[in-house]
Amino acid sequence: MPITVFWAGCFITYLLLAAFAPELMGERVLGVTLGFVLSLAQILMTWLVTFLYVRRADRVFEPLERRAASVAARRRSAS
């Protein structure tokens, strides 16, 4: 849930900035424009969220899922 707020927040902020602050996007930062930097940041943000989620899913969610599934299987064969 917090991750949803994080990625949606990042993207919506970016979209709103792009729409309502065009001059700011043309501002030069380190030789390139701020718009380009923020766009790169969106890709990096996407990679980061992906990395965090996949790691958590592999380590935490999947063992839980396996346990839940085997409980469900046992119940079904018992009934």
């Binding site: 992906t50 996949v54 599934a69």
Partner: protein, 548 residues
């Protein structure tokens, strides 16, 4: 009618090589394609990495490669925003859709919906939604392909469209999902290589100094640094936001992308395949931003008329220029190579679309609505091949009849609008809202579809002119009306649900939830701690649910 105006031998021969390789793959795949699981799900034997490449190949159409680079060349920053919406869009797919889809469905995204709803009405409406998205997107791709191949090889529009259509049908009919997947994997590989070569080459031209590249690009645009401020492509701020929204939410509703999750063995592989796709597509989009900027800096203002209204030819022209210029051997070769990559790109996407359409017709409509699940798998695959052929012929016919009169970007906007307003709301509610029911799904999807069609009919590109004069929506007529149609789609699902109660749908939701979250009973997986034989219902029972 002339078949060819001015044939260019080099691009055509490289095209020939690409086509020959894909035919070889199709032959190999055809010997492995027999039942429905191999036809639609490639025997669920595609690995996570392979599927990641295939998703990237399925998703990055010619509009990602040539289209966005062209838009970068023409409009600068606005095109970057479009690219970012298209990559961030994979986060909802990764976080909420991919694994649940793999666990709960069989061949099509519609399986997940109908799991807990009354099967026939849900499948019927959902399959129509799928067909709407797929056919509109397919025609967009084919028209784009025809124009492009004409410009690149000299083959005229009609034979170009027939060529693309014929190969797409061959892949799907003979090689099914296995051939489609490998065409997409190879295409993704070619695209990444081409992108990196172009990117590095452009940067080398500017001494690997991105700052110089940006200065040169701004100098070559009539708006100067306005090139990097945005507002050049879209008429209004609302338009930009709505466009971003359509890509963000539409991607998770694209049937040909969702279908790819059934080709992997389990949810873990589905997850890693999205992660790979995100990595590949993200890297490619970084390259496209640089290359598009490079096209502006190198080709300059004087090439604006040569790249065409949509900018589609900016990249091929840039390749020619980098290779040494028009008429030189280097220029010709590089141009031909980039053109061949573009062709491979188109073929992989249209094949994915056609196989998704065949799933909607044969699996959803024929097998489960018409035959109520009583047909054999053989029959299902047979119908699927007929459907693929019919869809191919229809798409070729419509594309030729409409010709280049179709506005490709309107069609793409329509496809994403329908996907985000009709498919996605019902899919999300089905997975996450217990109270959701058949009435809600049917009403939601129909209204979402209708709202998309009506709003697109009133959209700015259909009613050109200042403030879209004539359109009943006036200045509210947008390029992509998703910002209106998406809330309408969600609202219709919600309201439709409230008018009736369906305890069966809620009971089955619990079942769906367990299956989607844990993979218990998912297609083609081992049931953990297997219960005694005969007691584990691998297939969902098809007992008729009481219809009022």
């Amino acid at each position: 009618m002339p078949i060819a105006a001015d044939l260019k031998a080099l691009p055509l021969s490289i095209f020939g090589v690409v086509l020959a390789i894909t035919l070889g793959i199709t032959y190999w795949a055809s010997r492995r394609t027999s039942d429905a699981t191999s036809f639609w799900a490639a025997t669920r034997g595609i690995s996570g990495v392979q599927n990641g490449f295939a998703i990237a190949g399925d998703y990055m159409s010619a509009s990602s490669f040539l289209g966005f680079a062209g838009l970068m060349f023409l409009f600068g920053f606005d095109a970057m925003v479009g690219l970012m919406a298209a990559i961030v869009a994979f986060l909802p797919v990764l976080l909420y859709i991919a694994e649940r889809m793999r666990n709960a469905g069989k061949f099509t995204a519609v399986d997940v919906l109908s799991y807990r709803m009354r099967e026939r009405p849900t499948r019927m409406v959902a399959a129509l939604g799928t067909l709407a998205v797929v056919s509109v997107y397919l025609i967009a791709q084919m028209v784009g392909a025809g124009v492009l191949i004409e410009a690149l090889t000299g083959l005229t529009f009609t034979p170009s469209v027939i060529l693309v259509g014929a190969f797409m049908m061959i892949y799907v009919i003979f090689g099914g999902m296995i051939a489609t997947t490998w065409v997409q994997i190879i295409k993704a590989g070619l695209l990444m290589i081409a992108g990196v070569v172009l990117g590095v080459w452009v940067l080398a031209e500017f001494g690997f100094n991105v700052s110089n590249l940006f200065d040169a690009a701004a100098q070559e645009h009539s708006e100067g640094s306005g090139f990097f401020e945005g507002g050049l492509q879209f008429n209004s701020k609302l338009d930009l936001i709505s466009f971003g929204l359509a890509f963000l939410l539409g991607t998770a509703g694209l049937p040909h992308i969702l279908m790819r999750f059934f080709t992997v063995p389990n949810a873990r592989a589905a997850r890693s395949s999205v992660a790979w796709a995100i990595f590949l597509i993200g890297s490619f989009y970084i390259v496209i931003m640089l290359v598009g900027t490079g096209a502006r800096a190198i080709l300059g203002q004087s090439s604006e008329s040569a790249v065409g209204e949509t900018g589609n030819l900016a990249l091929p022209l840039l390749a020619e220029e980098l290779g040494g210029g028009a008429g030189t051997t280097g220029g010709d070769v590089f141009l031909a190579v980039i053109s061949a990559v573009a062709l491979a790109t188109i073929l992989a996407v249209v094949a994915g679309l056609v196989i998704a359409a065949s799933g909607a017709v044969a699996h959803d409509l024929w097998s489960n609505v018409v035959r109520r699940g009583r047909d054999s798998e053989r029959e299902e695959v047979y119908v699927a091949k007929i459907a693929a052929a019919a869809m191919g012929v229809l798409a070729i016919g419509v594309s030729i009849a409409g010709g280049s009169g179709f506005n490709v970007s309107v069609l793409v906007a329509l496809a994403f609008t329908i996907a985000s307003s009709a498919t996605l709301p019902a899919l999300l509610f089905a997975l996450f809202w217990r109270r959701f029911n058949t009435t809600g799904a049917v009403v939601g999807m129909s209204v979402g579809l209708l709202a998309s069609l009506v709003l697109i009919a009133f959209s700015a590109p259909v009613w050109p002119g200042p403030d879209s004069e004539g359109s009943p929506l006036g200045s509210l007529a947008l390029d992509v009306p998703a910002i209106f149609s998406v809330p309408i789609g969600f609202l219709a699902c919600w309201l439709g649900t409230l008018v009736s109660r369906e305890p069966e749908a809620e009971r089955r939701y619990d079942e769906l939830n367990v299956r989607a979250e844990t993979g218990y009973g998912a297609e083609g997986t081992e049931v953990p701690a297997a219960p005694p034989p005969g007691e584990a219902p691998r297939e969902r029972p098809r007992e008729p649910v009481a219809v009022p």
